[in-house]
Amino acid sequence: MKSQSIGQLALAAAALCYLFGVYFASSPVWMGFTINALVIAVIAMSWNITGGFGGLSSFGHAALYGTGAYASAILQVKYGMNAWVGFGAGILAGAAMGAFIGALSFRYGLRGSYFALVTLAFAEVLRICASSFEFTGGGSGLQLTLAPGLANLQFADRTVVYTALLFVVAVVMGLTALIKYSRFGAYLIAVRENEDAARALGIDTYRIKVQAMAISGAFGGLAGVLYLQLWLFIDSNVVYGSAVSIEALIGPIIGGAGTVWGPLLGTLGLHLLGEGAKHLLPNAPGLNFVLYAIVLICALRFLPQGLVGLAGKIGAFTRKKEDDNA
């Protein structure tokens, strides 16, 4: 295993304590917003694969999220398919969309802000299409039938929903760790560090990047499906809107891009911050976002490597390169 520090272990332990503590919280508020945070954490983990490990910052992860949600919703609403089929199809559709966007952009050598902008444009094109065509429900969006039951992937009991989401998050984090420590992950990190050098070493960087986009797409599609099954209603602004894309990247950057725990920690931290700001300024809608943004700026200033990076500096077991965090 790679080196880990006491700080990082403590941070992870704190997150676990929080997630476990939610079960016993006296107020339903905690579970409510943690459920929302966990869905966002999954799209954040999706962004982390490309943006964190691969250094391919996307502004358009809503394209993957929305495609997953729409694929599943269309199959269920228009073709009467089972929710589980929709679940799988959503993940596949997300992966396909990721691979498509990746293949197209990387074929033409886009990187940096050009890649960021092209993903943004794809998300916008998909948003416009989704609100214009009949089979996506047009402007009315798509509404699943309310029918709680395991077969329909809908749960009346929120504790069950929460547990299921925790399980999904754990699986995605496990997969992230697998990717990170695999040969593929090493190649991907090499692409981030120096793409030309990676290519010179014989790595097929194009294939690696497209594969990363496909994996990211699968996670992103998964997040979209989770949202759909949770709220049973989607429309083009809700799932293809730029708010999703922003949430996807903000969590990993605050938590620590290119780490396994970063997206979860960042997303949880930001949601806690948002909730705290709301309670601090309850009668001034809007000002809570101002407070949130100010703290965000400070976090960017004082946590250059994100929460995980900061924690890594506390009580490191071995002194290694800074990049070697969790």
Binding site: S57, L104, S105, R107, Y108, L110, G112, S113, Y114, A116, L117, V118, L120, A121, F122, E124, V125, I128, C129, S131, S132, I246, L249, I250, I253, A257, A284, P285, G286, L287, F289, V290, Y292, A293, I294, L296, I297, C298, L300, R301, P304
Partner: protein, 288 residues
């Protein structure tokens, strides 16, 4: 439908001029600082409010507000870059992006808090006046904005080409280290550039107000199109932004006419994707 093509092209050009005006500031900032400024839309909104309040409280005509609003926004932009973005970003591009995002969140929500979400429109005497060109009626405010865009882009270009500050900005844009070595204050130059970009957006606000409405969210209405304009024109190219803005206006107008206004929006973004894929340096940009 065919009889509508000519007026549609004209109104597209008029709208395109507004896109160009908003994009001029953005391309200036991108070309030098290489940052995607997400606060641009919010700054446009802020400038619109400034112009609106000058008009409603002091009776200052939006066009006469130009000499008041421009310097104020130049200073605002300068301070924003020097006082906030540079010190808070640790020099990382990703952080700069998030900081501009946070800044836009702050501006927008403060506007919401202080000025409420009410839509405001300036009921200026000439708001409904039109100019007739070959049988097509064009709103007077749009025609003025069009002329201004045509005039301002070359002026800015001349400023960049022939003044000392302009040369310094270009030097920093091309080679930051080298510029530093020959004694150019890079942070000052960056801030000047951001200030100029912000002043451009204030100019756009003065020209836009007579024909548009204001809400705290109005910035979003233009920000994505402005990004597209910048990319299409070539990031950092001033004449490019002008041509791209006009072109996008026409594309949008014609797509709207033939595909319907809802789906027609797609024209802009498809153009965006195609240009990114096939000619990422844009119409007038330098090769990367």
């Amino acid at each position: 439908m065919s009889s509508l093509i000519f007026p549609a092209v004209l109104s597209g050009l008029m709208m395109g001029a507004v896109y160009a005006l908003v994009a001029l500031g953005l391309t200036l900032i991108y070309g030098v600082l290489h940052i995607i400024n997400f606060a641009h839309g919010s700054l446009l909104m802020l400038a619109l409010y400034a112009v609106y309040f000058l008009w409603s409280y002091f009776g200052v005509d939006p066009y006469l507000a130009i000499p008041i609003v421009l310097p104020v926004f130049f200073v605002l932009g300068y301070c924003l870059q020097r006082g906030l973005i540079t010190p808070m970003s640790n020099g990382s591009e990703q952080n700069i992006l998030l900081i501009t995002l946070a800044v836009s969140m702050i501006i927008e929500n403060l506007a919401l808090y202080f000025w409420t979400s009410n839509t405001r429109t300036a009921d200026i005497a000439y708001a409904y006046d039109t100019v007739e060109i070959l049988g097509a009626f064009l709103p007077l405010g749009r025609v003025i904005a069009f002329c201004a865009a045509i005039a301002v882009a070359p002026l800015l270009w001349c400023f960049m080409a022939y003044t000392r500050t302009g040369s310094a900005i270009r030097a920093v844009a091309i080679e930051k280290r080298g510029a530093e070595l020959v004694g150019i204050d890079v942070n000052h130059t960056y801030a000047i550039c951001f200030g100029m970009g912000t002043a451009c957006v204030a100019l756009a606000a003065c020209l836009l107000l007579p024909t548009f409405y204001i809400t705290p969210q109005v910035g979003y209405t233009f920000v994505l199109v402005a990004f597209t304009t910048v990319v299409l024109g070539g990031m950092g190219s001033l004449p490019g932004a002008l041509i791209a803005g006009l072109l996008l206006g026409v594309i949008e107008s014609l797509c709207g006419l033939f595909l319907g206004e809802s789906l027609g929006q797609i024209g802009i973004f498809l153009a965006f994707i195609l240009i990114l894929l096939f000619k990422p340096s844009g119409l007038m940009g330098r090769a990367r």
